[in-house]
């Protein structure tokens, strides 16, 4: 009977022995395994890390980044990662903390060399003012500010810099290559932004309504006029009464374009489109939202194409650029 009494001890020893057998150390010449919360961060990390990195994004581009299930399979990815990058500002508060805790990888915990919060140093919009205890009366508000900042390519340069610093911490011997990649990325972004701004210049100030408040940064960069949202408050689905008031104000203000992310139901927006004659445009919230959006640059090309198509379809006449 003494044998069964020793069972827990045996199990414990088995755990230790097996873990010694299975664990291998990572050689310095190996690629940096990067896991990111969103595919956009993975896209930028690929530009900066180049051939020295492999990337995996937890959320898919067509998925709502606020509501990702913390599936244990992601913990396995994080367990093996050398670096973890997140958007921060509590965007991923519902799913990243349990994943990081479950991954048992001290290399990527907040404060460690392999942890990158991409929001560091980024100028934010819509930082809520006033009494924090009243914030949730305003719906699902992010206390630090609107977290959809990756939808501005110029802020993307700051994200790239945060990632660059993370890469240098994890693999300092390749610093010069990362630095080169960073400056190439910056130049490409500047060129792209100038090109796309010029394309949209003729539509400057066109009034647009969005389903959810994901687009203030995109709007700020490309100068259309985001006048309102179909959701009465962030995260609160519209009631029929609210929809009536939306339709009224759309008619009053002559809003002919609606934008929506792929992960929202288009039922209500289609209803509004039918009543107002406005055009519904599905923009990509992230890299990978559509199969053709493979890089961070593609994301903006795609969205601007879609936006201009939508404006043409809505019969909005482009103004002659000065």
């Amino acid at each position: 009977m003494l044998k069964t009494k020793n069972k827990p001890l045996k199990y414990a020893l088995l755990v230790i022995v097996l873990s010694v057998v299975f664990t291998k150390s990572v050689a310095a010449g190996e690629k940096i395994k990067i896991v990111t919360s969103l595919p956009d961060l993975a896209g930028i990390a690929r530009e900066i890390g180049g051939k020295y990195v492999t990337t995996f994004a937890i959320a898919k581009g067509y998925q709502d980044p606020h509501f990702v299930d913390p599936k244990p399979s992601y913990m396995i990815r994080l367990q093996k990662a050398d670096m973890f990058i997140q958007v921060g500002l509590d965007l991923e508060i519902g799913w990243v903390p349990p994943l990081l805790e479950g991954a048992r990888n001290s290399k990527i915990l907040p404060g460690a060399a392999g942890y990158v919060d991409a929001s560091a140093g980024i100028p934010l919009l819509e930082v809520p003012q006033g009494d924090p205890a009243k914030l949730r009366a305003e719906g699902d508000i992010h206390i630090y500010g609107n977290p959809h900042y990756w939808l501005d390519p110029l802020r993307g340069k700051l994200i790239a810099e945060n990632i660059y610093q993370g890469l240098c911490r994890v693999q300092p011997q390749n610093k010069t290559q990362f630095e080169n990649n960073l400056s190439v990325f910056r130049n490409k972004i500047d060129e792209l932004t100038a090109k796309l701004q010029a394309r949209l210049e003729a539509y400057r100030g066109v009034k647009v309504i969005a389903f959810h408040n994901s687009w203030p940064y995109f709007d700020e960069r490309f100068h259309f006029d985001l006048v309102g949202f179909i959701e009465p408050k962030p995260g609160i689905p519209p009631t029929p009464k609210h929809l009536v008031s939306v339709i009224k104000s759309m008619k009053q203000q002559a809003i002919r374009l609606m934008i929506i992310s792929p992960y929202f139901s288009k039922k209500t927006s289609r209803l509004i489109a039918a009543k107002t004659g406005a055009v519904l445009v599905e923009l990509a919230g992230s890299v990978g939202a559509q199969p053709e959006i493979k890089t961070y640059f593609d994301l903006f090309e795609f969205n601007i194409d879609k936006l201009i198509q939508g404006m043409e379809q809505a019969g909005i006449v482009p103004q002659n650029a000065k």
Binding site: A12, L18, S106
Partner: protein
């Protein structure tokens, strides 16, 4: 059949010391390795020598500089108090309001309404190596038509305060190990670890009520879990727990031996939208003063489907658990069983409908059983508030069948974190 109590304590002590010792050593080694590889690609013997030298120097410094620390600490204290409020742990409060309307002939008051529970959760990193969680509950007695009339106690406005959970979790043990120490809900089956407010039904499944009591398996001790490495990238987590055994559980009424628990969680993504979880649990402890043993074995299966593209609008979940109990007594061995199965479908962005079937015998009586059928409708107003409405038809052991309707509102304020998948 009788084991000396001190012997089991000793064994337990040995396991703990062994693990702690071993992991601390390995932890120190792995830290060293990481620090070196950050600065250069080649780790040669001079680095190792230098590292050893630093280790010696630093250890020596610690001893000599204790007198100087007192003078300096005053300044540090000033700094801490200035940033004190930002260093508060994450705090949240969760309220559960419950209303119950039960058929007249049942062993409980026909109409009952009140605040069932308030939970206060504190949660923060202690330092780079550990995290602490404290959950304090203020609970009121509630009607339970399955319990006998003597035990039935209505809401009376008297709240009892209890430390529901309080534990330290390590974050940086090597080899994907994680150690939890304190008072916590045992890692048994699928829902034992989940607090009732996060269940997708209102009442506790009869399986848990009859075998673990109304709080579930809750005990003080240690829990060590390990992510089992495997070539195919399957998620496998093995948990071993050794706890005091002094639990308010009908299965383990001995309170003289430690309670040992083993749990293996297997998880696989069948495709992008569908996941399958299969768990095996086992517990062993004593059920009387003579140290007769009780063994529990359980299996849990959870299938979930949620399309990623529309993950807020549609989902489906099927969760089932079954348990076998073997209880040795002075005169005989009692083998009993219990199970439940729960199915839930998401109707729209905020509405869910579900059904549950319960069957449960008793740990000390395999000849009587209880059954229940429930239908649950849930409305998620926001992430921070939900309403559940449940109809239940119950057949308690040795009493008339009854129908009842339960209505529950759960609301959260503060920084409440995510729930485990």
């Amino acid at each position: 059949m009788v084991y000396p109590y001190q012997f089991s304590v000793r064994i337990f002590g040995i396991i703990f010391c062994l693990l702690l010792n071993y992991s601390i050593t390995l932890f120190a080694q792995s830290k060293g390795r990481q620090a070196v590889s950050m600065d250069s690609t080649v780790v040669d013997s001079t680095d190792m020598l230098l590292e050893a030298e630093f280790a010696r120097e630093l250890a020596a410094e610690k001893k000599t500089s204790t007198s100087g620390l007192a003078a300096g600490s005053r300044e540090i204290r000033g700094l801490v108090s200035r940033s004190g409020s930002t260093l508060n742990p994450k705090i949240s409060a969760i309220g559960t309001f419950l209303g119950a309307a039960t058929q007249e002939n049942a062993a409980s008051k026909p109409l009952d309404i009140g605040l069932q529970e308030v939970e206060i959760v504190f949660d923060a990193y202690v330092d780079p190596y550990t995290k602490a969680t404290f959950i304090i509950g203020f609970g009121d007695e509630q009607e339970n038509p399955f319990a006998g009339p003597d035990e039935a106690a209505a809401f009376d406005g008297e709240f009892s305060t209890e430390l529901e959970e309080g534990y330290l979790t390590t974050l940086s043990l090597p080899f994907s190990l994680q150690l939890k120490a304190g008072k916590f809900l045992g890692n048994f089956g699928k829902i034992n670890k989940i607090h009732p407010h996060a269940w997708n039904f209102i009442d506790q499944p009869l399986m848990y009520a009859n075998y673990f009591g109304e709080e579930g398996l809750l005990d003080r001790g240690l829990s060590l879990s390990w992510l089992v490495p495997n070539p195919v990238g399957l998620y496998q987590e093995l948990t071993l727990e050794a706890t005091s055994g002094a639990v308010a559980s009908p299965s383990f009424t001995g309170r003289k031996d430690l309670l040992y628990l083993i749990h293996l969680k297997n998880y696989v993504d069948l495709n992008e939208n569908t996941t399958l979880e299969l768990g095996f649990s086992g517990i062993r402890s004593s059920n009387d003063r003579e140290r007769h043993k009780s063994h529990l074995g359980a299996i849990d299966l959870t299938l979930r489907w949620k399309p990623l593209r529309r993950n807020r609008y549609k989902s489906f979940e099927w969760m089932s658990e079954a348990l076998l109990s073997r209880r040795d007594t002075a005169t005989k061995t009692i083998n009993s069983t219990a199970f439940y199965s729960f199915l839930r479908y998401q109707l729209s962005r905020r509405f869910f409908i579900g059904g549950r079937y319960d069957y449960a015998e008793f740990p000390d009586d395999a000849d009587t059983y209880e059954k229940a059928v429930s239908v649950v409708l849930s409305f998620f107003a926001t992430e921070f508030q939900k309403l559940d409405l449940q109809y239940q038809y119950g057949s308690p052991a040795g009493r008339d069948t009854f129908s009842r309707i339960l209505l529950r509102s759960v609301f959260i304020i503060g920084a409440h974190g995510a729930h485990k998948y």
